[in-house]
């Protein structure tokens, strides 16, 4: 094992050199583009940040969309380019290789494993202060406690398999008494009663099912020893080390905070902005987006939000995240996280 780690470190130094080289050329190209883009306005075109989303552009990212629409980035002289994601769409490698300046991963595991593999990345903000991950069951066939899942058929995404196994072990559930089947992100297997419960997000599938008149019961992971921050904002160490790039990233986070504040203040408007500009081709539906945002809002604001503001990662949350990652075999320490861009 150590041998492999060493090897990966050797690898990463090489890739780091190469990455920084490429980074310089990207930065040069960025300057050139900025020169072309400055149309006397002055403010726009000073800085540019591209951000890769972990999912399709819907209300889950409305804070950023509102930030653009209300000029929270433009006021600071920052232009933000949104690169949409999707199922199996990689985010971390794009940040590692400097294709984009910032990334948002739904789960911190992806960033942590990349860092364990030698990538130089830092998590700089927590979009969700509490994990919305949960077991979702039908209201008339509810899974209320971890023990309830014994003898049941459960649908998980393959990406969540490790987590599911560890969750069972922690809560004294015998994995041999549980049937795990792979599902994708859609809740159809649950609605059709092919499975008894699915692994999902409290802000997604229950809302989608509820809108179609299917009532669900939700058992949050966070209540059973598996809480962590989610929807994490992250950048490369190279970005933090370079004064200009760092300043752009700082402005991006500042604008995103303001955008999220505005989005939380009016779910309706945030949903409208999302639908009109970013989700146009997707045919997003307004009521659905408003309800999703409302379900998501408590996870965005968290407990500490009042004092330190959105995206801030309190020490307790960082500790909890490290412990949860550790329990699924992913080593991470405090150096993975930094609030420095949020401090000013």
């Amino acid at each position: 094992m150590t041998q492999i780690l060493l090897q990966q470190r050797g690898m990463s130094r090489r890739s780091f050199l190469r990455t920084t080289g490429r980074g310089a050329s990207v930065a040069a190209a960025g300057l050139w583009l900025a020169g072309c883009g400055a149309t006397g306005d002055g403010a726009a075109g000073e800085g540019r940040v591209s951000v890769k989303l972990g999912w399709i552009p819907n209300v889950e990212y409305s804070g950023i969309f509102v930030g653009v629409a209300d000029g929270f980035y433009a006021k600071q002289g920052l232009e933000v380019e949104v690169v949409p994601g999707g199922p199996n769409s990689p985010v971390t490698p794009l940040v590692t290789t400097n294709r984009v300046n910032a990334g948002i991963e739904a789960i911190p595991e992806n960033v942590a494993t990349a860092v364990a593999g030698g990538a130089k990345l830092k998590i700089v903000g927590a979009g969700l202060q509490k994990s919305p991950e949960c077991w979702i069951s039908l209201a008339d066939n509810p899974v209320r406690t971890p023990k309830d899942i014994e003898g049941r058929k459960l649908g998980i995404t393959l990406a969540g398999k490790n987590t599911a196994l560890v969750f069972m072990k922690k809560n004294g559930v015998d994995p041999d008494k549980v049937t795990l089947v792979p599902i994708q992100f859609d809740p159809a297997p649950l609605a059709a009663r092919e499975v008894d419960a699915i692994w999902g997000f409290a802000s997604n599938q229950p809302v989608a099912l509820g809108l179609r008149g299917i009532q669900t019961h939700v058992m949050p992971m966070a209540d059973y020893g598996f809480n962590r921050m989610q929807s994490v904002f992250f950048v490369s160490q190279a970005t933090l080390d370079d004064p200009t790039a760092r300043e752009n990233a700082r402005k991006f986070l500042a604008g995103s905070r303001q955008g999220w504040d505005a989005a939380l203040a009016s779910h309706q408007r945030a949903a409208e902005v999302t639908i009109q500009k970013y989700g146009k081709d997707l045919g997003l539906k307004l009521d659905e987006q408003v309800k999703t945002l409302s379900a998501m809002a408590p996870y965005v604001s968290g407990a500490d939000a009042a004092s330190k503001g959105l995206l801030w990662m309190p020490d307790t949350l960082i500790e909890e995240t490290i412990a949860s990652l550790g329990s699924i075999g992913i080593t991470a320490d405090r150096s993975l996280f930094t609030n420095e861009l949020l401090e000013g």
Partner: protein
């Protein structure tokens, strides 16, 4: 065949019309049938949703068709150029076919994220569309170029014609029907490839719209999108032969293609020691080829460091490493044994599915040839099956077929059935009218005609189809494992990819490639020995 009178045309439309009606009735019944209703919306709901979605189909369909079209041109262009360009060099052609096998057997789940990292925008979709067509077209074209009438070649040679004359006068005209069949099969495949590219991280198109609809549990909308996709695929499938008939009217007289009586130029002969030497040579060259290609790929993939792992690195990982995948005991898995057990499972799945798909395709082809009505009913269904991404249809399929061996078999059969069926039907239709007439003149029954005429004539197409279907089944098995069972390489590579355990992913890809190539070699050897016996 020649221009049926209006009444006849009307009568021909009865069967497909009735099929559509029957399907609609089954659909309506299913939508009101207990839990099935949760994933099967009523036809009326879908129609209503399609009405209100009409505004967003054009831009999404345009994005998908643009990727599919580009991929179609690239993939087929490459395949045809390769087939023609290497015509005088059969050994090079055989090598290229092997490379193409590699292209088709590459597991999507492993390469889609790689493509998304390496290329911006719609390029991954274009590449996946091209990848979906290059192999089938190459095999079909090579088959056509080689399925020539031996006597025609001899006549030209006897008259002092050069190899070039043989190519121009015999091989090229003979290749057109088979090549067109390949291009026809490729049309829905390209659309499916593009949609999968979008589904796995695109920014726009029908695949992305499908992700949204499924995520929001908007079942009527997802079905509407599936219908639009199927219609596009059907149009693409039907437009091509019509266009070809206009462009090359002579290809209708299929009597020029004499099926199995091909003049083959593969080196052969000598059993025993020579055969063994050839086998060893094939194994060694394949392994060396894969490793060399792998090494080169890692060097050229842009941004590859993030995910690419070279052969040396992966070997040392498997020599003494653990995966990042945990077992139900919470322990990490030993990499090598996990890889091998996963691969074994995948091969069993692929084998079962392949056999079922092949038997089904042969039976269907015979039925469709004997009863035109069967073809008219089945073609639209199999086009629809071929054009809707399995990943979108999975919740319904799991409900109907479960997630066990039946589901795996059905999924693989769906994915391999179509190209085999099209190739076989084409070959059966190419049986010379004179031979059929002879059989009826001597009063031979249908069974005799099928076993003594139809099967021998379509044997070469069948064997070529096996070459296509075997590697396809391996890929299909992994899709089934990823989506349905959660066992085998398809699932373990998916988990490894999400955990950034790229050493395992690359090792898995290499294992799959070698297995597919082995399958291909076996199919090739089968083809050789069968054809030798025929001559």
């Amino acid at each position: 065949m020649n221009g049926p009178p209006p009444l006849g045309r009307l009568r021909r439309a009865v069967a497909p019309g009735l099929t559509v009606l029957a399907l609609l009735l089954i659909w309506q019944a299913a939508s009101s049938f207990g839990d099935l209703g949760a994933v099967v919306p009523s036809p009326l709901d879908v129609l209503r949703q399609m009405g209100s979605d009409a505004h967003y189909y054009p831009q999404n369909a345009a994005a998908t068709m643009s990727s599919a079209g580009q991929g179609y041109l690239w993939g087929n262009g490459i395949a045809i150029v390769l087939a023609l360009g290497t015509l005088p060099f059969p050994r090079v052609q055989a090598l290229l076919e092997r490379l193409a096998v590699g292209a088709i057997a590459l597991p999507l789940i492993a390469i889609a994220p790689l493509l998304a990292i390496a290329f911006p925008g719609d390029t991954p979709s274009v590449i996946l569309a091209a990848q979906a067509v290059v192999f089938t077209t190459l095999v079909a074209t090579v088959l056509g170029l080689n399925s020539v009438d031996k006597t025609s070649v001899e006549v030209i040679r006897a008259c002092g014609g050069s190899e070039w004359t043989v190519i121009r006068k015999v091989r090229l005209p003979a290749a057109i029907p088979s090549c067109v069949a390949g291009l026809q099969v490729a049309a829905p495949s390209a659309i499916l490839g593009a949609i999968i590219g979008e589904y796995m991280g695109g920014t726009r198109g029908l695949g992305v719209a499908m992700v949204q609809a499924q995520g929001a549990f908007d079942v009527p909308r997802a079905w509407g999108l599936a219908i639009v996709t199927s219609l596009l695929a059907a149009v693409a499938f039907l437009v091509l032969p019509a266009a070809t008939r206009l462009a090359f009217p002579w290809t209708r007289s299929t009597d020029t293609v004499l099926g199995a009586r091909a003049e083959r130029r593969r080196p052969r002969g000598g059993g025993g020691l020579a055969g063994l030497r050839r086998a060893v040579l094939a194994v060694v060259s394949t392994v060396v080829g894969v490793v060399l290609g792998w090494w080169l790929l890692v060097l050229v993939v842009p941004g590859g460091d993030a995910v690419a792992r070279g052969p040396v690195q992966v070997l040392s990982y498997f020599a003494d490493g653990d995966t990042q995948l945990v077992t139900s005991d919470g322990e990490t898995q030993d990499a090598l044994s996990y890889l091998l057990s996963s691969l074994g499972r995948t091969l069993v799945d692929a084998g079962v599915g392949f056999a079922a798909g092949l038997v089904l395709a042969v039976l269907t082809a015979v039925l469709a040839h004997e009863f035109a009505v069967v073809e008219r009913i089945l073609m639209p269904i199999s086009i629809a099956l071929r054009s809707v991404p399995i990943v979108a249809a999975m919740p319904l399929l799991a409900l109907v077929f479960g997630r066990g061996v039946v589901a795996v078999t059905v999924l693989i059969a769906v994915m391999t059935f179509f190209p085999v069926l099209v190739n076989l039907l084409l070959a059966m239709k190419a049986v010379p009218r004179s031979a059929t007439d002879l059989f009826s003149a001597v009063g031979a029954g249908r069974r005799q005609r099928i076993t003594k005429l139809l099967m021998p004539y379509s044997l070469q197409a069948l064997l070529a189809s096996v070459k296509v279907a075997l590697p396809l089944s391996v890929g299909a098995a992994m899709v089934a494992e990823w989506l349905a069972t959660g066992h085998g390489l398809g699932a373990s590579m998916t988990v490894a990819a999400t955990l950034s355990d790229y050493n395992f992913v690359w090792g898995g890809v290499a294992a799959v490639l070698l297995a597919s190539l082995a399958a291909y070699h076996i199919a090739n050897a089968l083809e050789d020995s069968a054809l030798r016996r025929l001559e």
